[in-house]
């Protein structure tokens, strides 16, 4: 049946073809040809749009003028006029030919020219020479490095420590070793430059909270929690970190660690703590901000500090549980791919640790001195003291800004220069203004060390007072 019907239709079609008028057939033929043309022609002409000729290309190459590699710097740029120290940068320092008392170097414990430290370094020099000529993996691990790591871990009462050959590289390498693209880092706005660079290298999502403002941090954590509930699958692999400093380099303030630890467990975020200023300063034994607050060090996932301040050597270290720290031995870029710390610097750091362990009283002395000068500097008209009273590095900022940063810097520099004439060596806190995430206001950073006598502290305070009065009025 079906085939018969089909055949009938075919026959009918042929018949219709015969019967159709000629004009109809011609029209249909034209339509078919047009469709074919449409199918095979290009809708636009690529040729006209691009494909420069060789000559045009050569012209473009000829015409292109790059910016200079570096823009010219005026000869009188203030940054080119930096301090030159002749001789050691110790308690008595010769800056630009002037003999001063040093209130600028982070030599908190005065170990920089300690004879014991020097003797230990000398012994190391005799045995090992200077350089290590290799990264840790390739015969650049010396027994001294292992000793130092061991000693640091013991000192901090943690399982493991890892040393870097440069202070800046420590936290800047540690952060990207753990936090990757997609992870979330909550970080204090006042965090130092090394942390900022570490975060940038990690390519994680960065959430800034207001300096030391736990409510703001909790708000962000809560926001994230809500976000996580929307997408639980993603949340299961998104690591969360809180990065803070013990004593903030840029503000001289201490972080509210007990609250941070509470938030850590509440929102399940790990804490990375940068202790370059607080290690060897805070706490009864100088273990830093954890000891200061009496918080178990196990509650902090990673502590990093440099050995360039209290220990007066070079390099930095991270410490914590082996589960966390050991990972850096293959993933910390500044650890794996850099030459290891010269053994004499490691030996010096070990000896500095010995001295710290033998004289735990030193930290109380430092604290007293900080308090003394802090008190003495209160009430200078035009200058305010920013930072904790027990912080050995704090800032003096202008009470009333002139409105222009440049002008402020000039005023402060005038104060610094005049103090220098009175044999007090100070320096402004220097920043790369365009690079900083949240640029701190200009300030003079005062550094206290145990070597400064009461009389010297008094002298410094009164010098700053008098000079400020002269400059600002």
């Amino acid at each position: 049946m079906a085939t018969a019907a089909e055949q009938w239709v075919l026959v009918e079609m042929v018949q219709a073809l015969y019967e159709a008028p000629a004009y109809h057939l011609i029209l249909e033929g034209i339509l078919i040809l047009w469709i074919i043309r449409l199918l095979f022609s290009k809708t636009y002409k690529l040729q006209e749009r691009s494909d420069l000729t060789v000559k045009e290309k050569e012209e473009l190459i000829e015409e292109w003028q790059p910016e200079p590699l570096v823009p010219p710097i005026p000869k009188d740029h203030p940054a080119l006029n930096y301090n030159i120290v002749s001789g050691p940068p110790s308690h008595n320092i010769v800056v630009n030919g002037k003999e001063c008392i040093n209130f600028a170097s982070f030599n908190f414990l005065g170990l920089l020219d300690n004879p014991r430290v020097k003797a230990a370094a000398l012994a190391s020099l005799k045995k090992y020479g200077v350089g290590t000529c290799g990264p840790r993996g390739f015969y650049g691990t010396f027994d001294v490095h292992l000793d130092l790591e061991d000693r640091l871990a013991k000192f901090m009462k943690t399982e493991e420590a890892i040393i870097y050959s440069y202070g800046f590289a420590t936290i800047a390498s540690a952060i990207p070793a753990y936090s990757k693209r997609g992870d979330i880092v909550f970080v204090d706005k006042a965090a130092c430059f090394a942390i900022q660079k570490g975060l940038q290298a990690s390519r994680s999502d960065i959430k800034l909270f207001k300096h030391n403002d736990m409510a703001d941090l909790e708000r962000l954590l809560k926001e994230q929690e809500i976000e996580d509930q929307k997408n639980p699958r993603k949340a299961r692999v998104t690591r969360r970190f809180i990065v803070v400093e013990g004593l903030y380099m840029n503000t001289g303030t201490i972080c509210p660690l007990p609250e941070l630890v509470k938030l850590k467990y509440k929102y399940k975020a790990r804490i990375f703590l940068e202790e370059s200023l607080s290690f060897g300063v805070l706490g009864e034994h100088g273990r830093g901000v954890t000891e200061h607050y009496g918080i178990s060090i196990d509650d902090i996932d990673l502590i990093s500090a440099n050995m360039e301040n209290s220990l007066a050597s070079i390099g930095g270290f991270c410490c914590g549980r082996s589960f966390v720290i050991d990972h850096q031995r293959l993933s910390g870029q500044g650890y794996c791919f850099s030459a290891s710390l010269p053994p004499l610097l490691a030996a010096a750091a070990i000896e500095a640790l010995n001295i710290m362990e033998e004289n735990p009283g030193i930290f109380a002395v430092l604290k007293e001195k900080c308090k003394q000068i802090h008190k003495a500097l209160q009430g200078i008209s035009g200058l305010k003291v920013v930072g904790e009273s027990f912080s050995p590095a704090f800032h003096l900022q202008l009470e009333d800004s002139t409105g222009s940063r440049e002008q402020d810097v000039k005023l402060l520099q005038e104060i610094v220069d005049q103090c220098m004439n009175r044999n007090i060596a100070l320096t402004q806190a220097r920043y790369l203004e365009k690079e900083e995430k949240c640029l701190p206001p200009p300030s003079i950073r005062v550094v206290i060390t145990v070597e400064q006598t009461e009389e010297e502290l008094e002298r410094a305070a009164s010098a700053i007072k008098e000079v400020t009065r002269a400059v600002l009025l």
Binding site: L60, P66, K126, L146
Partner: protein, 552 residues
């Protein structure tokens, strides 16, 4: 741009993944990488010296076995992970605290798979502690593992006088204290170790200035600046030079520090094939012609990042061609001479001297003091306006602690020695000795039939081992023979190209090198490492020592 053509190319396919893109290097290369690259760039032929560089390809069966080795290792890894998960095998790895078990895991499982299951098997070959200066001999602290490399225990014994083929001690200036280091001792006594401030605040010492002036003089450039760490010299200064809207063209084998610096700068990064001028030219052309993607704005500036000697390949940058390209396209050149400064050139001035090029042609000269100078830290050198700019904008000048004074003094001492300022020719002799040793060692290895990479003048000599098990066997056996060698595998090299790397030093005597070569020869037979198929074609007349000496 003339194609260097057919059989004479430096065996372009350095890595397997580039095979297709470089037609001239397919399959077996009869030239054994001997090249006469006179006119890479059609217009300029400023340099007519022959670059002898070889990257011989492995025989196919070796590649097959290598991948099979990794395959079996991976399978076993899965099996053992499975057993660990079910508690059949004890897991030795450190574990998360109980209190934080409900946190998002700090590591994703697969991240550590390689480390746990492959690296762990052979990790005794790295991080071996030593307890002497990294001179031509060193003392290795003996350690054993009772749990298959999860933990190590020191036996208390010391393996004395191991021949050191691993340290970057090219000029032999890293040694234990002797009278020549007296000034270092004096500076240490006078200055102490630390500086406790940054260069911009209170950390520029007279020692640093002395060093900077000397570095500039040594390199024959206008000015120089020194930094406390070599790695940071790259990673903290490249961002000061380029930024958004700029283009970085980076060699694919550049060191991590350069890569990090480039990444931190915020500039667009494009990678060119290792030491391949054609690849670079293509990128340069396209960049200048087409500008930035999407907006089509012209690039603000283009910075080429290269290294002098590539530390894993032993190749030397093809500087003459790169300079010609940089001039033609008005790009800037940043050259990291970490391994080459002190080690190359008739008087140790580095790659520029090696090729007879004015150092002023390179816009930014970077180098480290860790290697040839036996110290630590790095420098940037070039025109005065560059250095002035860096003093203002360098990240490490503002935020990084400056260099320790005794370290600075060690560099000053080494540099003076090299410049002959100590009144002797000792420095020059060292440079010559290094060149001699390098040639001798490379030539002998080649004759033995090993596949070695790199330039004939490069003191970094990688010997290809390919298989991960051979890596371990080689290093362990060599140490038994009291020879300390460095072996490298993934991720520092491509997966299938694990290798041993020898660093030649001027302090190596002929006897030491012979001892080492004999041991390598033995190992080569034992482990079947002599993969080269050009044993017979190693042209004696080319590798004759005298002919090379004429060339310098």
């Amino acid at each position: 741009m003339a194609n260097p053509g057919g059989g004479t190319v430096y065996n372009g396919n350095l890595h397997k993944n580039q095979k297709q893109s470089n037609g001239s290097g397919s399959g077996d290369c009869t030239g054994n990488g001997i090249v006469k690259e006179t006119q890479q760039n059609g217009k300029t032929h400023i340099y007519e010296k022959r670059i002898v560089e070889s990257f011989e390809e492995a025989p196919l069966h070796v590649m097959v076995f290598t991948y099979m080795g990794y395959g079996i290792g991976t399978l076993f890894g899965y099996l053992r992970d499975f057993m660990r998960n079910w508690g059949i095998e004890k897991c030795n790895a450190a574990i998360e605290r109980e209190e934080q078990k409900d946190f998002v895991p700090l590591y994703q499982d697969f991240e550590n798979f390689y480390k746990r299951n492959l690296y762990m098997r052979i990790r005794d070959n790295w991080n071996r502690p030593i307890c002497s200066a990294p001179g031509p001999w060193f003392d290795v602290v003996e350690r054993v593992s009772d749990d298959y490399n999860w933990t190590f225990r020191f036996t208390g014994r010391i393996i004395k006088d191991v021949i050191n083929m691993g340290s970057y001690n090219y000029l032999g200036l890293a040694a234990k204290y002797d009278e020549s280091m007296r000034t270092v001792k004096d500076v240490l006594k006078a200055y102490g170790l630390g500086v406790a401030s940054t260069m911009r605040e209170m950390g520029t010492l007279d020692k640093h200035q002395e060093l900077e002036d000397l570095v500039a003089k040594f390199l024959n450039v206008e000015a120089a600046m020194v930094f406390g760490m070599g790695f940071a010299t790259n990673s903290m200064n490249i961002p000061a030079l380029v930024g958004k809207g700029c283009l970085i063209l980076s060699d694919e084998l550049n060191h991590t520090s350069l890569v990090l610096g480039a990444r931190l700068s915020g500039a667009t990064i494009r990678i060119f094939k290792h030491n391949n001028a054609q690849s670079l030219e293509k990128l340069l052309r396209d960049a200048v012609i087409y500008g930035q993607p999407r907006t089509r704005r012209a690039w603000k500036k283009i910075l080429i990042l290269v290294e002098g000697i590539y530390s894993m390949e032993g190749s030397i940058v093809h500087l003459p061609q790169i300079i010609a390209l940089k001039k033609k396209y008005k790009a800037y050149l940043y050259m990291d001479e970490a391994h080459s400064v002190g080690a190359l050139g008739a008087t140790g001035r580095g790659v520029t001297e090696f090729f007879g090029i004015d150092p002023g042609e390179v816009d930014v000269l970077m180098g480290t003091f860790t290697k040839s100078f036996g110290a630590s830290g790095g420098y940037l050198a070039g025109r005065k306006d560059l250095v002035d700019y860096l003093r203002v904008h360098s990240h490490s000048a503002v935020y990084g602690t400056s260099m320790s004074p005794p370290i600075a003094e060690q560099i000053i001492r080494s540099m003076k020695l090299l410049m002959g300022l100590d009144g002797t020719t000792q420095g020059l002799q060292r440079v010559r000795q290094l060149a001699k040793n390098t040639r001798y060692f490379r030539q002998r290895l080649q004759k033995m039939g090993f596949i070695i990479y790199g330039n004939e003048s490069s003191p970094v000599i990688p010997v290809l081992l390919y298989m991960p098990s051979k890596v371990a066997a080689f290093a362990r056996h060599m140490l038994e023979k009291k020879i300390g060698v460095v072996v490298v595998g993934f991720p520092a090299t491509p997966l299938a190209e694990a290798r041993a790397r020898f660093c030649i030093s001027a302090a190596h005597t002929r006897e030491m090198l012979d001892t080492v070569l004999e041991a390598i020869d033995e190992m080569g037979d034992l482990l079947h490492l002599k993969y080269s198929r050009h044993m017979q074609s190693a042209r004696p007349e080319l590798y004759d020592e005298t002919s090379f000496e004429l060339e310098d």
